[in-house]
Symmetry: C2
Subunit: 312 residues, 2 copies
Amino acid sequence: MTAQQPASPPVAGDAFCAIVDWGTSSFRLWLVARDGQVIGERRSHEGMMHCSQTGFEPVLSAHLQALAAPAKLPVLICGMAGAKQGWKEASYLATPTALGELSDHAVSVSSALGDVRILPGLAQRDVDAPDVMRGEETQLLGVSRRMQTGLVCMPGTHSKWVLLETGEVRGFATFMTGELFAVISKHSILSHAVDDARPDGEHPAFVRAVDAALGNPGMAFGQLFSVRAAQLLGFEDKSDGAAHLSGLLIGAEISAIKQRYGTGQGVTLVASGSLTALYESALVRAGFSIATVDADECVRTGLFEAALKLWG
Amino acid sequence: MTAQQPASPPVAGDAFCAIVDWGTSSFRLWLVARDGQVIGERRSHEGMMHCSQTGFEPVLSAHLQALAAPAKLPVLICGMAGAKQGWKEASYLATPTALGELSDHAVSVSSALGDVRILPGLAQRDVDAPDVMRGEETQLLGVSRRMQTGLVCMPGTHSKWVLLETGEVRGFATFMTGELFAVISKHSILSHAVDDARPDGEHPAFVRAVDAALGNPGMAFGQLFSVRAAQLLGFEDKSDGAAHLSGLLIGAEISAIKQRYGTGQGVTLVASGSLTALYESALVRAGFSIATVDADECVRTGLFEAALKLWG
């Protein structure tokens, strides 16, 4: 009896395509085999803002070379590379949008690298709630393999809350939560009250602030200054500031959603890194049941699914 | 019959005292006669931040000299000069505070200029709603000559909402509305969507945003990004951005107060300059009846009243 040889891992020559998540300030590329297995991965800070100076093609080319990708390998991109200020504009699809149709609207880029396409973003052309996304729609395509209907929370610099119905994006809302945390803690009077401590979801100041925001919907603007006042009056230390501010902002976001949708339906949380624990903690305090999925995995799955539809 | 000579206007030699509103980034001084008449006035940007570098006494001395104030003229100061980082700390009085007693707690500064005193600020030592003010308490003393009981709105970099009861500050809340407008329009993604246009209270984008914030309490954080999205989707122009953002922030502030107190009682609006029309417009849209008083006049009246109690 001879033992069966294990299948040897796929190499760059086996790649079926390259998929790229090209954000405002980040670049991520994966080489994938036809069965979806990841052969190689690259990450850098060469996002849209960087590339609008240097050009997009040289950046993509260098990363493909670094992984020894076969020449003329098809490449599918999502994110800000498709913005007006990006590589080539991939016009927004209007909501409601069936996620399965994203790939039908991919825009071809004229490139010496071969077949390079960019997926479109989504626009909510509602004069009372205008909104746009680029990149999250592809994550949602990945999410929709697990759940087709429900409320999705995608925290980040600009958090997105999305209502899915049988694989269709019915509507969405952007909260500038992450960016507000950054600009308020860097540029406002609260810069004196926030240090570099990374808040976690169990920090007492975070929990108190989430509860305060949930208990007093709409008052978040009237509570921001309390981050500083609590320290001036000796109730908190500077090491509590980041947790307090973060709790108010995340609490306000979740409180607004709770007011609008109630907690009857669960929330699918699409997150990576340190935000995961913060949002999990706050969502549970608000009374939501949650299922967490990894944001990185979702964008990869979504890109791969769209690539299969194009070239599979 | 000889016509009666009109009283000649008072001159610097007639001054009863000097009163100073010394803010974070502004300095205002008035020489006043015993009957309250203003003899001379100085304004500059030598606020606390400037003077913590240069010293406070030289700044005060130069302005007194410029008005030819008599030597050893008593000087009463309110505002950030009494902060810990100011000239000399005038410890906060805890709420509830009878405004008539502010002058009893003025702190004497040791100065070659003579009798110089600083009025204290107020602190709300409530662990669930910690808050502080410096300067506004003196404006409120001026306001309390007109009304002793009711809701007072004092818009600015940090707006204060104050509940007065028979001349006593019962409680207050700070909204960082003006500062949020500044940091968001300068440092966030919305900097691409806001130009230098000065919003006015009748601007359609301002009015729409106020109504949106009032109609959807708690959603203001979820609407900030719409300032940019509305332009990306062609619903608005960059010249609408400042009005839109301003309407959302002021609308969120007023919406929170309305949720808490209703509109049954009117609001006394203590404002100066371009903020007056914005807050008047938004308060009326929210259903409040309003009486507007001039903020500059209130701080002068309050300082003078406190000075009379000390030296009258």
